[in-house]
Amino acid sequence: MKIRNQRDFGAGIMYMVIGLFFAIIATQYQMGTAAKMGPGYFPFYLGILMTLLGLLVLVKSFSATAAIEKIPKFNWRIIAQITGSVVLYGLLLPRLGFLVAVVTLVLVSASASKEFTWKGSLINAGFLVAFTYSVFVLGLKLQFPLLPVFLQQ
């Protein structure tokens, strides 16, 4: 027995984990009967169905006819930079305000590109701040904390 299709193997495991998760949690809710369903009924059976599908995908990844596929490598640097830039934005927005948060988001995310330059990214950040400020804050009048907390009256 050899895993021929690694991607399907991974997907099968993922489906089974998610399916079991939903099904197990569903048992904490009232099940009810088919005629009078409780909140647990539908998610429980969907979770079971998902687990079975996962098992099927998993089994098929071993079959002799499965295409040989490897899971492509994860590029952790890019993941960290893109996700990190968004999380940073979330952390900074309520504390240091819109302007700082947007500039940080642009600079950190731009550094994930192989063609990153400080000059280009700073110009891009300036342009995007000006553009989003005029469209979202001035134009659509959406509410944002604009300045850092310590600068607000």
Binding site: I71, V86, Y89, L93, A110, G120, L140
Partner: protein, 500 residues
């Protein structure tokens, strides 16, 4: 004729200054994202959903619809000039369109694409108007059992026609359905899967899921690709076609329009599938089939007409039955619910101005698009020079601002980041996310109708099989699965997706 009075009402609504303006904005944005590779209509509509809060519902829907069909126009420009399809639906246009451009006929190819799209768009608007009323009437006959079976058919159809591995795609649908259930259960008031997180009691934000899985994950995927495949930008040449060109393109446009209109209505249909379908029909039926792949004008006219027709007729199931046939339409459901409009047959009676206004706006939008695209093509070509390294931080900024404004909380920003990671994992494991979005939108509706159907039948599951309409829909769904599983069909289907 009722149809004409309805259309008159539609044009009255669409021809207000505000609605014309939003139609134009939608068309410009649509063309823009169509031209820019790496930014598709799903991510764009998700990005702009929050910004439409401030708009009246009709203006919002007109603009979002414009983005979808506008992107079909824009996508062909890059396909022809650069051999880089801006949208998946222009992949086949690139085959012959780019060859035409290499032969010094870029202008004619663009003209053909534009005229094909325009004609198809006009016809599709009429099809939409004509089919809407009878289908809505049918939908009123539906009880919960029929609705449940219809959703099963819709979801199965969506994956059978439009994705790679069938089992994996069904898994994604179920995952979507499960995610849709998160939040407070309307029947019992019990909070499910929220784990005492107050922000989750209303469920996971639709915008956060769509932006994360389609926006963020795509960016991470794009950044990994080594080396940009920059094509050779062809020069623009005269747009005036010769007499033979016109003679050859007209039948193709007619065929493409028909194929596109039909495939758009089917669940799982939509622009990309229609373009593929039209191309293979053209290739088989043309007497110039030896020219295909070397710059046959039919290979541009047919698919371009088809993708635009399908982009518009895919609104039919959404507007009449309330069932989105593809991921973009799932986003439109999100847009409608944001504005407190429940998609379904009642929209036409309870909100006729909105319904017919949206349809009329599509015709107006097509006129705007042909004006935007043919004379102004030079401007769009310049946009192609914006490098991706400037584009993706901008996408992130718009997403982050947009998702924050939905509930004015950074919690949604973190959720979006999380779904970006999940989307990246899907991408690595070869699980396609569009079915997930469909399931996510339909999840609560499906559970509700399932519960109601069984409540009415006192727990008897045969209710789905004893009601003739419901049985018919389920048989259709089962047939779809069986047909796809047949070895012969399976093989051609796999080949078709390899070409993609």
């Amino acid at each position: 004729m009722e149809l004409f009075s309805n259309l008159a009402l539609g044009f009255d609504t669409a021809f207000t200054l505000q609605n014309l303006l939003y139609c134009l904005i939608g068309c410009v944005l649509g063309t823009l994202i169509g031209v820019l590779p790496g930014l598709g209509p799903i991510a764009t509509i998700a990005m702009l959903l929050p910004a439409t809060y401030a708009l009246p519902p009709i203006a919002a829907l007109i603009m979002l619809a414009g983005i979808y069909y506008g992107s079909q126009y824009g996508g062909s420009t890059t396909a022809i000039l650069l051999n880089i399809p801006g949208e998946t639906s222009s992949v086949v246009t690139a085959i012959d369109g780019y060859q035409m451009a290499r032969n010094g006929r870029a202008g004619v190819a663009l003209f053909t694409a534009g005229m094909g799209s325009f004609f198809a768009g006009c016809v599709a608007t009429l099809v939409l108007a004509a089919f809407a009323a009878p289908l809505s009437q049918l939908a009123f006959k539906f009880g919960p059992a029929e609705y449940f079976s219809l959703m099963v058919l819709g979801l199965i159809g969506a994956v059978v026609l439009a994705s790679g591995s069938l089992i994996k795609a069904i898994g994604m649908i179920i995952l979507g359905l499960l995610m849709g259930i998160i939040g407070t259960d309307v029947n019992s008031g019990v909070s499910r899967y929220a784990f005492d997180i107050p922000e989750l009691s209303d469920g996971i934000g639709f915008v956060a899921v769509a932006m994360g899985v389609f926006g963020f994950a795509e960016i991470m995927g794009n950044l990994e690709k080594t080396g940009d495949d920059e094509g050779f930008l062809n020069k623009l040449t005269t747009m005036i076609p010769t007499k033979t060109d016109i003679k050859r393109m007209i039948p193709s446009i007619l065929r493409g329009t028909t194929i596109g209109s039909i495939l758009g209505i089917l669940p799982g249909g939509g622009a990309a599938l229609a373009a593929f379908g039209a191309y293979s029909v053209e290739k088989k039926s043309s007497k110039y089939s030896h020219e295909f792949g070397k710059g046959a004008i039919e290979g541009v006219a047919g698919p371009e007409a088809a993708n635009n027709a399908a982009a518009q007729t895919s609104f039919i199931p959404l507007l009449t039955l309330g069932i989105p046939p593809n991921a973009v339409m799932a986003l439109m459901v999100g847009a409608m619910t944001i504005h407190n409009i429940q998609p379904g047959p009642q929209v036409m009676t309870s909100n006729p101005a909105l319904f017919w206004g949206l349809i009329a706006s599509m015709w107006i939008g097509n006129v705007m698009l042909i004006l935007l695209n043919l004379p102004l093509i030079g401007i769009w070509v310049k946009l192609l020079k914006i490098p991706y390294r400037f584009l993706y931080p901008a996408i992130l900024v718009f997403c982050c601002i947009g998702v924050y404004t939905v509930n004015n909380t950074v919690f949604d920003v973190y959720v979006t980041a999380g779904f970006g990671l999940i989307g990246y994992l899907f991408f690595k494991l070869g699980c396609e996310p569009p079915p997930l979005l469909l399931g996510f939108v339909l999840g609560p509706m499906m559970e509700e109708n399932f519960r109601r159907a069984l409540l009415l039948s006192r727990g008897d599951f045969t209710t789905f099989l004893t009601r003739p309409l419901s049985l018919g829909l389920l048989i259709a769904a089962a047939l779809l699965v069986v047909i796809v599983a047949l070895p012969a069909v399976k093989k051609t289907r796999e080949e078709a997706f390899v070409e993609e």
